[in-house]
Every structure is written in C-alpha cells, then in structure tokens.
Amino acid sequence: MVMTPRGQSPRLSVARPPSGVVRALPFEGDDNELVQAILAGRTDAATVFYDRHVDSVHRLTFRLLGPDTEIEDVVHDVFLRALESMSRLRDPAALKGWLFGITIRVVRTRIQRRIRQRWLTIMDPHKVPDVPITSEAGLGEAMRDVYTILEHLPADERIALVLHKVEGLSLEQAAAACETSLATLRRRLARAETKFFSRAGKKPALAPWLRGHHQ
C-alpha cells in the first residue's frame, strides 16, 4: 500500500485508499483535462497544476529576478492569478505557455515597482539580496554581478535578454511571450546586450568569465 505522507498533497501516481475509507482518486490527465478539472472546482487538480508547473515557473522567475527574497511570493502570485483567469484560457493545450506569459507580467510588475522604489531611494540601488545560489559551473559571485547589472536595465530589456539568451527561447517565442513585435524584441535585446556587456567588463567577478579567464 502506498501511503501519502501527512501534510503532502497526492501526486499523479494512484495511491490505493485504505480499506473502508472512501477517497477521490488523485487527478490524472493531460493539461487539457487538467484545465477542465480546475474549472470544475477540483482541488486535487489545482494541486496537480501546481506540482506539474511549479518548477518551470520557479526557474523562469529566478532567471528573471535573480537571487531575490521575493521569488516565493512571485511564484505564489503567478499561480493564483492563473487560477483566477483560467476561465479565459482559450487553448488549454497551451497552458504552459500561458503560464509563462503570466510569470513574465508578474515579474515585470515587480521589477518596475522596484525601480520606483529606487527612485525614492528607499532601497539601496546596488544591493542584490543575499540569497544563496547554486551554480554547477561555479559562477558564484559572478551571478551577483550579473543581477547588479540587470537591476539597472529597463524591465523589458532585462526580460528580453533573459528569455532569449538564458531561457533559450527563439526570438519569435520571446516576442510572443513579451506580447510585442519581433522587431521591438530585437531592439530591446540589442540594447540589453550592449549595456550588459559594456558594464560586465567592469565587474571583478564577472569580467574573467567573459574574457575566458575564469577558473
């Protein structure tokens, strides 16, 4: 018998209920069926929705925001917004891409709000929150330089750079995700790259990476 650990939500695998206990089977199905189940009000479907997509939402949020104490809030916000607006999702098979778009909008709002805060000098403009990061390639401190630079890019340029260069989206996919034209996306990307590399050369931890002199 497979027991579901206390406090954890059921996963996709079918757990047999203990004899004598009537319990709904965990939700199974593709994203199409998942959306229908969520719209029908099934809480287990909401759990599966979260479990199925949280890694990709978190990964994208981290890449866009960097080491940040707000990441968990953003992920939370993305999923709640998604549930609230799921009835307007036209193509349930495109659930992942749609969630991607919501993530970008939520992150953009956060970045813009941070820029406003900086304008009022409430927040130290050079401070990147001290959240531990893991880099298999050993980027370490260089990543803090990266996000210090990104803090000074306009939100749209920052998003274009990350979506295309880090997330690996094609220009067309990135333009669609940003809800803009391909030409505009290209220009944002060109500006972002120019600014990024011109500033990166002055960062002590990052510059060796770009010169190929890192350990």
Binding site: D73, E84, S170
Partner: protein, 421 residues
C-alpha cells in the same frame, strides 16, 4: 563561431544552470490555502499595502517640493489622439502629419506606412515599414528619438531629417536638413553620424553605401520614394540617379560621392553555404541583415538560409527563415517543406501543428509518411493521448508496414490496456 561569441554562449549556458533553493511543499500549502480562501492574499500583499502607504507619504512630500514626475509624450493625428502601436498609412495622394506634445512634428509622406512604436517622456520610436517620413524633432535636453526602417535605426536628439525605406528594392536613405543624427545598420561600419546637408544611401541588394556631403543644401521639403517631382525640384539639380538611391532622393552630380564598395563585401552567403562553410555563411548573412533576406529572398533561398541557421547552430535564423517561407510563399512545395522542417525544429506540442500543416499542404508528398510518423511521435510526447490515437489509426491505415507502425500499434494497445484496467 569566433572565440568571444563562444565564451558568451558558454557564459549564458552557465547562467541557465544556476538556481536557488525553493521550498516547494511550503509554496504548495500556501497556494492551496489561498486558493481555498478564494483570495490572493500573501505576505507580499501586506508588504504592498505598507509600501503604498509609505509611497503615498513620500509622494505627498515630493509634491510639496514641486517635484512632479513628467509624463510620456502624446501625439495627435488629423483624426484625433494618436495611439501608440496603431498602423498609419497614406495613399499616393496624401500625407499624414503627427504633432507631438513637445512640438516635434512628423509627416508620413505619400504611399507610406508606419507607426509610433513607443513613447517616453523624452521622445518616441517611429517604425517606418515603407515609404518616407519627414521629421522636425525639437531639441530638448535628453531628447531621445528613434526612426526605425528595415534593419536600420536612426537616433536623433534634435534635428530636421528625412528617412526613406523601400523594402522592395532594399534601399534606405536618410537626409539631414539641420542638426545631426546617428545611423546604425548594415554596411555602415558601426555608428555613422550624418550631419546637416548630408545624405546617406544604403543599397542592401548591391551591398553598398553612398554618402554625400557638402555642396548640398538640404531643404525642408523632403523627399521620399513617392514624391519624385517635388524632390527633384527641392534638391540641387539632379544629373543622374545614383544607383541604389530611392526615388526622389537623387544626389547632385557636384556632390562628392564616397562609397563603401564591394571590397568591404564578404563572399555571398550562398557561395559559402554551397562550400559547406555554414559559420562563414551565417556571418555573411549577419552582415547583410537577416531581416532583409527574410523579405527578399526566394523560397528556395529561404530554405537554404534555414539550413545555414540549423547547421551553424543559430536556430533563430533557421526558424525565422522557415516562417518567412511559409508566410511569403503559401501553397508552394517550398512552403510545405518549411512546415515539415519547422516541425522537426519545434517542441513536441508545436511540432504537431507543423506536421499537420505539411500533411494538409502535401497529403501525398514525398515526406507524407515521415510527417505522419513524426506527428504521432509529437502527439505522444505532448501527452495528447486522444490525438495520438487518432494519428496512430491514420498511420496504420496508410502505412501498415511503415517505420512508425510499431509505435502506432503500441499507442493503440496502451489505450486498450487502460480500458481493460
């Protein structure tokens, strides 16, 4: 690929592998609690409220100090308030003036199309899709204006200028009446400053740039592809039309003519591609500007261009060339082939759409069996089980001995197994 590009790509890959800890269980509990409560409250909302209160106080102080944040520019058209992003077009007999709130004036010349792409408090970006514009940009501190035409960008801080772009002939022209501008684009060798009285013409098809300076007094009555007669009168007497000059922007014969000729031009990308030098071909494409090739290359050339993108590892180039082929040459063999290649290059969910497109275009085409088999793979990988079963049935009815027949049978058997359970 050259060394810096390799290093940069390695760096971006390393960046992509970076992550931070995330307590998924706590996040799930938090999410489900909020979902059950039916409201989007979170710690951030509380912080947001605190922030709003603080911001309100600071804003009040700012107002007290007469600090008012400036607003983005607005503009008017003859039809009323202009809308950012809305296309504007003129026919052969009309012009369209735009008046901006800080007194900059832009006139979209005859037979032209463009739009204000974005506005800020210091300027705007105007995208000229085709035709010509005349602009008188007010010189204010920090002014930031951009005119975008094909692969070219003109940066302006305050000046009167004329920009023309003929996508069919791939000719770009900028003429400055007063002040100066900075132009970026192919064959310009980096940022190029164009000053009052100067004319810069770039002809992508002949890979040349012509630069006229001195001896020409630009007139405000601008020129553009559509106003041949007016332009001929407004410029110094034209003796000949310079090759590559858009209509109406003909230089005078006594003006010194400098050109950046084909000595700067690299070998054609097609020749490099045929030699198997895909990196070299890609570099050549970048020098020309891939955007112009998407618009002007033949269907076969676009397929070759996609191959350059694929084999040089630049998948954006591959994808965009294939999309251009689909867009510009619908209902052709090449368009169907582009759909098939897009399917091969796409994620499983999107791939299915492209393989279906190939099969719709060429149901009995040379690649029909392979397309149907790959469609089955794509639907299976995308976990579209109903669609996968449908494709499996189609495949077995047409190709019972085909290479994807075992997968099709497994797909159908899996469904029967589910029913048996």
């Amino acid at each position: 690929m050259n060394a810096p590009v390799e290093r940069y790509e390695k760096f971006f890959r390393a960046w992509a592998e970076t992550t931070c800890a995330f307590d998924k269980d706590r996040g799930r509990d938090h999410f489900l609690s909020a979902h059950r409560a039916g409201k989007a409250t979170g710690a951030h909302v509380v912080r947001e409220m605190a922030w709003l209160a603080a911001a309100a106080m600071v804003a009040a102080a700012a107002i007290a100090l007469w600090l008012r944040p400036p607003e983005s520019l607005a503009f008017m058209t003859p039809g009323g308030q202009g809308q950012v992003g809305s296309w504007l077009a003129t026919d052969a007999a009309s012009e369209l003036p735009l008046a901006f709130s800080e007194n900059t004036r832009i006139v979209l010349r005859q037979d032209s199309r463009g739009r204000v792409e974005q506005v800020s408090r210091r300027g705007a970006s105007f995208l000229l899709e085709r035709g010509a514009v005349h602009a008188e940009v007010v010189h204010l501190p920090g002014a930031d204006w951009h005119f975008l035409a094909g692969p070219f960008e003109v940066r302006v801080t305050g000046t009167a200028l004329n920009v023309a772009w003929d996508p069919a002939r791939e000719q770009f022209t900028v003429r400055v009446d007063t002040g100066s501008v900075v132009v970026q684009g192919p064959y310009l060798g980096g940022d190029r400053v164009v000053r009052a009285g100067e004319l810069c013409v770039v002809d992508l098809s002949s890979r040349s740039m012509r630069f006229l300076s001195g001896g020409m007094t630009g007139t405000r009555e601008g020129a553009g592809p559509a106003d041949d007669g007016a332009a001929a009168e407004s410029w110094s007497p034209p003796v000949r039309e310079a090759p590559g000059s858009p209509r109406g922007l003909t230089p005078s014969s006594n003006a010194p003519l400098r050109s950046v000729p084909s000595s700067a031009a690299p070998p054609a990308w097609t020749a490099l591609e045929q030699q198997g030098d895909y990196e070299g071909a890609y570099s050549a494409v970048q020098r020309i500007g891939s955007a112009s090739l998407y618009r002007s290359a033949s269907a076969d050339a676009l397929l070759e261009l996609a191959k350059v993108g694929q084999l040089s590892g630049h998948h954006d180039l591959q994808r965009e060339a294939l999309l251009a082929c689909r867009h510009r040459f619908p209902s052709t063999r090449q368009s169907a082939l582009a759909a098939y290649e897009l399917g091969r290059a796409s994620s499983s969910a999107e791939a299915a759409t492209w393989f279906e497109a190939y099969l719709a275009d060429q149901p009995d085409g040379a690649l029909a069996r392979e397309a149907l088999g790959r469609l089955l793979e794509a639907q299976s990988l995308a976990r579209n089980s109903a669609a996968a079963r449908d494709v499996a049935n189609r495949y077995l009815s047409r190709y019972p001995e085909g290479p994807h027949a075992p997968l099709a049978r497994r797909t159908l058997a899996a469904k029967r197994g589910e029913h048996d359970d």
